[in-house]
Chain length 199, copies 2
């Protein structure tokens, strides 16, 4: 660009490199930083470094954690015999919000995707196998996203785990609570009919 | 939220406090920071502090600058007798991109806005009067935005400057180059007709 002072150009460039932030938004954010007082700007910069420094992956479930073992894996009240497998850390937080699940998790950090050249070695599948080998796991709940890549990943892992003989389940498909049949797609309705339950 | 590790919560909160960044985007950005390597994260944090530390306002035109006097005000080739008054620093950069203007600027850092309680003392009007008092200014070009607040600000300042007797002009209104009359609003067309020029 060259019309902005150099340090401002650099900051705009950094914001523009973030996902979903275009050039105009990056400029707006950079200008906003200049309007912060010194302490606010320092807090923002520190928050970036603190998160980067303090957050690691739980040695057991691979979820984001400030400790070597995350609070869920370290808890006495969680059932270690049930492992819910998700693709991303944010999925753990979504499921936790339901306050329904009492087992533990395993975060794959991705899904199998031939198109993006992501194979079994690129996500945390071996770490799951190791857990199954070392512990007494009774059930694996596959909770990857209900899209093609999520399904493929769930299928691939369930085949790998089959020889171990534990129960392997998948989240139920169906119409979302509070939704409207009129606006539900056919594939979902088909799955909802197939999975119908007696009342 | 409480489901995320604390330092991650803090970072999400910082991103969410930026203008135009909602909760979901803030989460996405915070997760992205965690995927950066340490050096990238450090560069991002440093860019924030460097911009905040190094960028000040030019003592003459109030535009953003890394020096006490900005490159435009310091330049020998710019005509100091013409001052283009804009509301924000980004407007200077927009006009500079046209490579047409050879005068200098004055950045108000805002517009008069009774609704937002922004009065003449809250924007850099006195600094403009001081420049007019101290220099030999022949023309003031009012280039605030063509909206109600921009117009009001331009009118207010032009009345203040009237006694000094220099030429006071306003950017021309009209149909944008490359646009289509069919999609031009009536107010713009009215102004374009009023301002018609002989060919």
């Amino acid at each position: 660009m060259g019309f902005y002072p150099n340090t401002l150009d650099v900051l705009i460039e950094k914001f523009a490199s973030l996902p979903g932030i275009g050039k105009k938004s990056a400029q707006r954010l950079a200008f906003y930083v200049l309007t912060m007082n010194y302490e606010e700007a320092e807090n923002f910069a520190n928050a970036i470094m603190q998160a980067k420094r303090n957050i690691r992956r739980c040695k057991i479930c691979q979820n984001l954690s400030e400790d070597d073992i995350c609070p869920i894996c370290a808890s006495d009240t969680r059932d270690k015999e049930i492992i819910c497998v998700v693709s991303e850390p944010k999925d753990v937080f979504s499921i936790e919000k339901s306050h329904e699940y009492k087992g533990v998790y395993h975060v794959l950090h991705g899904v199998l995707s031939p198109a993006n050249r992501i194979g079994p070695g690129d996500i945390k599948i071996q770490e799951l196998i190791d857990r199954v080998n070392n512990g007494s796991v009774k059930e694996i709940i596959m909770a990857t996203n209900p899209d093609t890549e999520g399904e493929t990943t769930a299928l691939y892992i369930s085949r790998l785990l089959k020889p171990y003989g534990m129960k392997i389940t998948r989240l139920a498909y169906g119409v979302p609570v509070g939704s409207n049949l009129e606006f539900t797609d056919e594939a979902t309705l088909t799955r909802a009919l197939e999975g119908r339950i007696e009342i």
